[in-house]
């Protein structure tokens, strides 16, 4: 690379690291929040729970 390999590989390395960090942070954040949401929906007598209740009463 004409003596510039050190600079070029550092550039690719930093880019790969930042992109991987972005993907990882986004994916982990999304999965954590989705789990949290599911736990809250299961725990709380939300809309889904109420509609089930109404359906059971109707039956």
């Amino acid at each position: 690379m004409g003596g510039y390999a050190g600079f070029v590989w550092w550039a690719y390395g930093v880019t790969a690291l930042v992109m991987a960090g972005l993907v990882l942070a986004t994916w982990r954040g999304l999965k954590t929040r989705e789990r949290e949401l599911k736990a809250l929906q299961d725990m709380s007598p939300g809309r889904r729970g109420r509609s089930h209740g109404v359906a059971e009463e109707d039956v």
């Binding site: 003596g3 510039y4 600079f7 550092w10 550039a11 690719y12 930093v14 880019t15 930042v18 992109m19 960090g21 972005l22 993907v23 986004t26 994916w27 954040g29 999304l30 929040r33 989705e34 949290e36 949401l37 809250l40 929906q41 709380s44 939300g46």
Partner: protein, 199 residues
């Protein structure tokens, strides 16, 4: 060059999409527009960081210095600070709606920096090279270098769009969690007040 230039394109595209989403949020109060602006901000900041670091890494062997207060470099650094400011403002208020409004105003005011970045190499005498791809007439780069550069540009743009969609989904889920928590709090207050009434 194959990562520095696409990073700069994505950094500016992310800011433009953030400013458009902010304008939509302020004018039409569309709830998704706020979430798009909030989601674009960290991605844009990351690509601006990559652009600055890779540019600095190439500046050392080419110009003999890591950094110069050149118009292009300085305006790009301002873009990075605008992203940081946007993220800070979003989280600076207890009420998320107020934070989003303040951040949207900053995003719109800071949009003036995007054309400054693009034309800084034409308006001022800079160390940074002038536009060689997005210019009037044919690009100045040889096709053997232009094609991989454009491919990288397309790849980076697709990466940005995918990540933006994932982050918007993340923000929607977070909004749902906030909504359920608020309902629980109000429900809790209701139970407490009814209990007090019984006593």
């Amino acid at each position: 060059m194959y990562v520095h230039v696409p990073s700069a394109w994505v950094a500016m595209a992310a800011y433009s999409s953030m400013a458009i989403a902010s304008a939509m949020a302020l004018i039409w109060k569309h709830p998704l527009a706020d979430l798009i602006a909030k989601s674009a901000s960290p991605i844009g900041a990351a690509f601006t960081f990559v652009c600055l670091v890779t540019g600095s890494l190439w500046g050392k062997p080419m110009w003999g210095t890591w950094w110069v207060w050149d118009a292009r470099l300085t305006s790009m650094l301002i873009l990075f600070f605008l992203y940081l400011g946007h993220m800070a403002l979003l989280n600076a208020f207890d009420d998320p709606a107020r934070g989003m409004k303040a951040a949207a105003i900053l995003a719109l005011a800071g949009f003036v920096n995007v054309p400054v970045i693009k034309f800084s190499v034409d308006w001022w005498n800079t160390l940074h090279q002038p536009a060689s791809v997005t210019r009037m007439g044919m690009p100045k780069i040889d096709p053997t270098m232009l094609l991989p550069l454009l491919l990288m540009g397309v790849g980076f743009t697709m990466f940005f769009v995918t990540l933006l969609l994932l982050r918007v989904r993340l923000e929607i889920v977070a909004a749902k969690i906030r909504s359920i928590r608020l309902t629980q709090i109000h429900g809790g207050v209701g139970v407490l007040s009814s209990g007090e009434a019984v006593n």
